[in-house]
């Protein structure tokens, strides 16, 4: 399986990564070899094996609906890159695809 430069560009855009054309070329090659390596698994017949979505087999882990305020709110606010009073402050939002 090979990944071309166009696909690398798309994934980078979705992840908000700015890559140079040289980097796109380089990563296309590297990612392709990683995918090829993983693709060896396709040699196995897994038609009757249910897909594994997680390594540990637990289900229905829930908690009771009892409220408890987090006591160190200030630590969360002050660890943000920027704030204005009790708000988190973020730079101008640029939308568009």
């Amino acid at each position: 399986m090979s990944l071309d430069r166009e696909q690398v560009h798309k994934v980078a855009t979705l992840a908000r990564l700015a890559l140079t054309p040289e980097e796109e070329e380089k990563f296309a090659g590297q990612l392709t070899s990683i995918l090829d390596y993983v693709e060896q698994l396709n040699e196995l017949d897994v038609a009757d094996v249910p897909p594994t979505t997680r390594a540990i087999d637990v289900s229905n882990v829930t908690r009771v609906d009892v409220q408890r305020a987090y006591e160190n709110r200030e630590a969360i606010l002050s660890s943000a890159p920027d704030r204005e009073d009790d708000f988190f402050k973020v730079p101008k939002i640029v939308t568009g695809d």
Partner: protein, 496 residues
């Protein structure tokens, strides 16, 4: 010579709704912070809802219970095996850059909602089933305040309040079975009634507990392909949903007729101008790169648990509507009013349970009692001093002929203010209906003697003077004379 009128193309609208509904839990979906609306900014935050490194989200069991109950009430199949996924996009209302949602294994699928469309003109109603594609659980995002401008465009920075981040939501996706603004508004109202009856959400649109996004396209009647779909957002009332859709249908038809293309985009309903306007154009479908949420284990709803929850469901609005019309014999209109607000439904049902007939109960509640509540702002039927059992007693005093309907209406204000037994009040005030013919006849004699001119007119052929004499007799007896009997006796006397 007349030119042939060109056949005008008829169009139909294909509409689907995505409804987000905030669940009424104490805490967030994956953490212990409060969900109370209106708190100062960033007071209900914690490391989990902020997505700080090393934290582990744990599902609130009430969220699962409420989602399953909502799924059952929407006639869905509950998934025996379900999971959460990460939906990735970059926007500062999400502190983690992904939203925990459900993608390919939602908790509930393949349901339907029955709506009842009431036609004011004819007083009749028609029922229609709207398919429900799926219902899934997810977390809400934070709230942005844009600085330097009231809109995103033009603002130089934004402020974020994450109180709402991680608040539990269910998203309900309908099939594209809806054909008009009225059907869409009715569907949305039915969803609200259902979640309110279940007690899983307050359905408050102003506070954003219930939000509807609409997908809409048009096509020539009879066509089986779909037109280009447009999404509309920003409607904060059922009425706005209806008007936005009706506007959008006209806009799309006008564009097609003029040969202009319909653009796949998201439009905002503008309440001020009563129009929709472009918010953003969708370029291809968004790529959210969903993958299973590794921090949360799967959910398995066992049959015993599911059936336990099913047994806890109350009688639902659709069941009440059928029962009121088919068993209690109420009209579609009465049914609609009585089942819309649960506190009114409860009051009505308690009145009937206390032995009053359904129709007069409906009339009193929807008439005089509603008028009283409307006149007393902020008062609800649950605040009334007059208990349903007392209303039932009043209705039965009238039905049995113990007091006249008029006396009933006369003493109602006092009962509404103070409550208490209507029977005791009637006895105390000496308002029992007079049904003794001898007493009524005596009053008739006096009235006839007092109005010789009117008697002359009646004898002269002005037979509608009968009503005048009946009125005078009722007045003379303080409204206590049995009106039907009085009418008979007056007629008999005048014609003798």
């Amino acid at each position: 010579m007349t030119a042939a009128t060109p056949v005008k193309t008829q169009y139909e609208a294909i509409i689907g709704l995505e409804t987000h509904c905030q669940l009424s839990t104490e805490t967030k979906i994956f953490s212990e912070s409060s969900t109370v609306f209106g708190a100062p900014p960033n007071t209900h935050i914690d490391p989990v809802c902020m997505g700080l490194p090393g934290v582990l989200p744990v599902l609130n069991q009430k969220v699962l219970e409420y989602a399953v109950k909502a799924g059952l009430a929407l006639n869905c199949t509950i998934a025996p095996y379900s999971k959460f996924d990460r939906k990735q996009y970059f926007y500062p209302d999400l502190p983690k850059n992904y939203q925990i949602s459900q993608y390919d294994l939602p908790i509930a699928e393949h349901g339907w909602v029955e709506i009842e469309l009431y036609d004011k003109k004819s007083g009749t109603s028609t029922r229609k089933k709207i398919g429900v594609t799926r219902l899934h659980m997810e977390e809400d995002a934070g709230k942005l305040v844009h600085g330097g401008s009231d809109r995103l465009a033009g603002s130089t920075f934004s402020l974020v309040d994450y109180n709402r981040a991680g608040v539990p939501l269910i998203e309900i996706v309908s099939e594209p079975d809806i054909r008009s603004g009225q059907e869409a508004a009715e569907y949305a109202q039915e969803i609200r009634r259902i979640v309110r009856y279940l007690g899983v959400s307050d359905g408050n649109m102003q506070e954003g507990s219930l939000r509807c996004d609409v997908n809409i396209s048009i096509r020539p009647m009879g066509s089986t392909t779909f037109g280009t779909k447009v999404e509309i957002k920003n409607m904060n009332s059922f009425n706005a949903i209806q008007r936005a859709i009706d506007y959008e249908i006209e806009r799309q038809i006008a564009a097609v007729e003029a040969g202009e293309p319909i653009i796949q985009e998201t439009r905002l309903w503008d309440e001020g101008s009563q129009t929709t306007r472009t918010m953003r154009v969708k370029e291809g479908s968004s790529d959210y790169r969903y993958f299973p949420e590794p921090d949360l284990g799967p959910i398995e709803v066992l049959e015993a648990q599911r059936e336990q929850w099913r047994s806890e469901l109350p009688e639902l609005p659709v069941q009440k509507r059928h029962r009121y019309q088919e068993e209690l014999g109420l009209s579609p209109y009465d049914t609609r009013v009585l089942t819309d607000d649960q506190s009114i439904t409860t009051y009505f049902e308690q009145t009937v349970a206390a032995g009053a007939a359904a129709k007069p109960s409906a009339n009193w509640i929807m008439g005089d009692i509603s008028a009283y509540l409307n006149a007393n702002t902020g008062m609800t039927i649950a605040d009334l001093k007059l208990m349903p059992q007392e209303l039932a007693e009043l209705i039965n005093l009238i039905e049995s002929g113990t007091i006249s309907n008029k006396i009933g209406k006369d003493i109602l204000p006092e009962l509404l203010e103070n409550g208490g037994s209507p029977k005791a009040l009637v006895e105390k005030k000496g308002l029992l209906q007079i049904s003794d013919p001898a007493v009524i006849e005596a009053a008739i004699e006096e009235v006839i003697a007092a109005f010789p001119n009117e008697l002359e007119q009646y004898k002269g052929g002005k037979t509608k003077m009968l009503g005048f004499f009946v009125g005078q007799v009722l007045k003379k007896t303080g409204g206590k004379a049995d009106p039907k009997l009085t009418n008979q006796l007056v007629a008999k006397k005048l014609n003798s």
